[in-house]
């Protein structure tokens, strides 16, 4: 057996230990990318073999907390893929406008940039006041940052450019307050957002939504877990509710493919069939 094959066994055992001990299931993550995460994490710990981390993770809860933080990739930005947000404005909002209240679930919100982008769009469309937005992630430190809504000022230039590309034509500066080298998002934008811990691999439905956004999360899952999460989304949507995925994700080949109509192929916007 090669070292490479042995390492595969070690990774399986390690993820199994994490799952049985803490209930966090990484066993259905796409193997190649979770392997990368495990290797990177191993390097930081100073151990040389993955299996050496098994007793450590079993008996040391703070080691586990570091692991979750490290395994979950929170790379995000405001108005990521501006064209997508433009499409939300033009194709989804006209539908949402017809409802007396609107419930939105943003799954995998990371540090919050995406949900604030959405809140800005909704404000401009006059829809925010009648909305409730649930922003969830399984990474608590990321959720805490999302709640604070404080971002490095050096990112604001890109955020502003994205905002404009997404069809924003007001002054983006009205949505944040600068202090030293950070900006804090305006309080108004936080009003209708509830941040909560929710693990897509193990937790269930928690309400009926008009719109679900889950972008750049499913790429990390294997087909089986993708299907679990997608049927969770299907069950959480009202008829004719919308589902938005990342630009490199799709319902094609998934179990729920026939339950949705493709609305915007480039931006991966789907609508649940009646």
């Amino acid at each position: 057996m090669t070292d490479n094959e042995i390492e595969k066994i070690e990774i399986d055992l390690f993820l199994e230990a994490v799952f049985r001990r803490y209930g966090y299931d990484f066993t259905h993550y796409a193997k190649a990318s979770i392997r990368r995460r495990v290797r990177n994490f191993l390097q930081k710990t100073g151990y040389t073999r993955v299996s050496e981390m098994i007793p450590e993770v079993l008996y040391n809860e703070s080691f586990f907390a570091n692991l979750v933080f490290d395994f979950s990739v929170t790379v995000t930005e405001m108005f990521r893929d501006p064209d997508f947000f433009l499409s939300v404005r033009n194709m989804i909002f006209p539908y949402l406008r017809t409802y007396p209240f609107i419930k939105i679930w943003q799954a995998g919100c990371a540090t919050g940039e995406e949900v604030y982008s959405l809140a800005i769009l909704m404000t401009e469309a006059g829809l925010y006041e009648k909305s409730t937005v649930f922003a969830t992630d399984f990474n608590d430190p990321a959720l805490k940052k999302a709640k604070e809504g404080i971002y490095p000022i050096k990112n604001v230039k890109d955020f502003t450019a994205n905002y404009q590309k997404a069809g924003g034509n007001l002054s983006f500066a009205k949505y944040y307050h600068a202090q030293y080298d950070s900006v804090i998002m305006d309080k108004y934008l936080k009003q209708r957002i509830t941040f909560a811990n929710h693990n897509l691999a193990t937790d269930g439905v928690f309400g009926e939504m008009h719109l679900i956004l889950c972008r750049n999360v499913l790429i990390y899952f294997d087909r089986e877990l993708q299907n679990r999460v997608l049927s969770l989304f299907k069950d959480s949507l009202i008829h004719k509710g919308f589902l938005c995925l990342g630009t490199k994700e799709s319902l094609q080949f998934s179990d729920v493919c026939d339950d949705f109509k493709l609305i915007d192929a480039k931006n991966k916007i789907y609508q649940k069939k009646f």
């Binding site: 193997k31 990318s33 990368r36 990739v73 790379v75 790429i219 490199k248 799709s250």
Partner: protein, 196 residues
């Protein structure tokens, strides 16, 4: 005889020209799947794909998440995503942090390719202005794969080839044309049935 199963290529600044040359050399019956990480602007349109498709006898496309790797195809990592290869020879994408200031990163592709193809892999580093890929190429070499680097004197930007050579990962240093010819020769040899 050694049988290669895939080709991985890393390329950055100056890549359009050399890739156009290399890809247009590959014949229709070239059997090894080709996976390429080219550093592009994150919001790059698919113009480059259309361009290469016109020049290349093989089908050129951006790799899709979970797509099965097939012979007769040239796959590019989508701009702003890392490209990885799974055990069942399908693709994974990730938006993990940049590696060597790059996403997609050559090292990420090469490392995951080694996990799957082991020694049955050909790794190539072409022109580029950073040192992404130097580690990955060395890894391919250490695992018994074949590693080729574009001659820095020919490369539009010599930094990436030089870094790969300095890291000790190059089996051979060749011009783009020689690399193309070698690929074609190796593939032909593999496809010829061996009677014993």
């Amino acid at each position: 005889m050694k049988k290669y199963k895939a080709v991985v290529i890393g390329v950055s600044a100056g890549g359009m020209k050399v890739l156009t040359k290399l890809l247009s050399m590959l014949p229709e019956n070239f059997s090894l799947p080709v996976m390429i990480v080219q550093h592009l602007h994150p919001s790059q349109s698919d113009f480059y794909i259309r361009h290469f498709n016109e020049k290349c006898a093989l089908t050129v496309k951006e790799a899709d998440e979970k797509e099965k790797i097939q012979s007769g195809y040239v796959y590019f990592a989508p701009p702003n995503y890392h490209l990885l290869i799974e055990e069942d020879r399908s693709f994974s994408l990730s938006c993990d942090e940049k590696v060597n200031f790059s996403r997609p990163s050559v090292d990420v592709l090469f490392e995951s390719a080694v996990d799957v193809y082991h020694s049955d892999l050909i790794g190539i580093i072409l022109t580029g202005a950073n040192n992404d890929g130097a580690y990955g190429l060395q890894l391919i070499k250490n695992n018994g794969g074949l590693t080729l680097v574009q001659n820095p004197s020919e490369a539009e930007s010599a930094v990436m080839p030089q870094a790969a050579i300095a890291a000790g990962g190059a089996d051979d240093i060749l011009s783009a044309e020689e690399i193309g010819n070698l690929l074609i020769r190796l593939d032909k040899k593999q496809q010829t049935p061996v009677y014993s």
